[in-house]
Amino acid sequence: MTTKDRWIIWFFLTPALILMGVMLYYPMIGTVIESFYDTSFISPEPRFVGWTVYEKVWNSRQFPEVVWNSIYWTIGVVLLQNVLGFFVAMLLNQGLPAQGLLRALVLLPFVLPGVVTAILWRFMYDPQLGLVNSLMIWLGLFEDNAAWLANADTAMAAVIFVAVWKGFPFSMLIYLAALQNVDKSQLEAATIDGAGPWRRLIDVTLPSIKDVVVVNIVLTLILTFNYFDIVWVMTRGGPQNATHIFPTRIFETGFGQFRFGEAAVYGVFSILILAVLVALYVIVQTGASRRRPTA
């Protein structure tokens, strides 16, 4: 490309930029505007009401529930998914016989469509017919028809488990790629110095993949906070709102009850929380690329 061909940059960029502007950036602003209007099933014509809807949502019983559930859900999934993903990446990087096959098989849950995953696990958790309770009986853990998804105390943990099952392969892939870049000679030097596997992990491996770990955690934080399909199909936010997180609450308020204003307020709150996470991501990313010598 020469300078006189500069038109082609904009010619190539325009379709994508217009589409993203109209369908992603405009709706971000649209949600904020929407949150100051009241619409309901009875009066579908939007009325400007200022901060009224914010007050209504802020003082509702559901709001603290949704905030608390979202925190529980996000931290639970992110922590478990990254720990599991990291250790599985370690396990599949030792040169054991079945390594190649397992690296491929482990990706299966990641590819399984979300709704299929949710339906399959609803069935796995079925009190009478499900495999989970049968496993408990076979292993002699307990003999009880525990209704994992119908009990408000266990529902969230049960859904988190499924999200981790589906999500850990993604984290593993990224950790595996990072582990393969760890300097072998450093590991060997540590071994000669008498470091055992744990010391090697803490002194050599972890420091050299630190950036990937942090970026991976913030990335899964953002993805997990936005999760919708598995939670909705498995529990619809229930029982007793125990698994309602921001996306499910927004969908139910907006498309279940047609209270678009209230749904938009929940949307604005979730955008604000995400903005914090994204800022974190940007800080971490720039820090990481500054430390890299060949970026």
Partner: protein, 275 residues
Amino acid sequence: MNLAPSTRLVLILCQIALAFFVLLPFFWMFSVSLKPATEPFAIPARLWPESPTLDNYVTAFRPEFRTYFMNSLIVSGASVVITVSLALLAAYSFARRTLLILTALMALVVLAQMFPHSAIIIPIYKVMRTADLLNTYSSLIIAYVSVTLPVAIWMLRGFLLKLPVSLEEAAAIDGAGPLRVFFEIVVPLARPGIIATGVYVLIVTWQEFLFALSFTSTKEMRTLPVGLNDFIGQYGIRYGELMASSVMVSLPVIAVFFFLQRYFVAGLTAGAVKG
């Protein structure tokens, strides 16, 4: 690295445990899909039906299912083609020029991939309603192209950055115009990146649920994920048919993924690890 025999044994046991953890639900899905509707569920569960049959697949492959399947195929297929084309054009501009405004725009593209779909869906819904596009393929295709574009641009840009510019320069010196350079040099060289991005768009759109649930209300327009969700109520506890449908929904993406896995993994991890 040499491992002590005892460590090796522990690690192999871990591998077996991992295989069980990952595969048991798949095995169970498949096993129940083969269970005749007449065979009662054993309590505790039996891992393999007494007389496996394909009956559930025949029953589950009903006219509605075929409609949903076609809808998914049309919507996902169109999204893959359109997203990859638009993303390749945009990624080329981002990869070959270092203007300040392009850097800023690229930052906006990266930012957009983190937008929560649930928080932006109401204005999008209203746009679709005003344009009279609800219950059409177009509404889903437009939405899917928009939400997959940011990651697609990011993946393809990473790919193009690694291609040597010298070929393009040589062609330009030989008198090839910018469009010819793009279509005859860049596009063929970017093939692995195009495939990786296509697989990404396919995986995302084949399972997309939120937009499909909100924008389609008629049976004729529903896609597989929404249709499958409807089946939960309709089938009651006819788990055999539900699992057979699930297998049929999953097989296409799993097949494509395993066929093209190495492209996808390379595309994803290169971007994520190298930044």
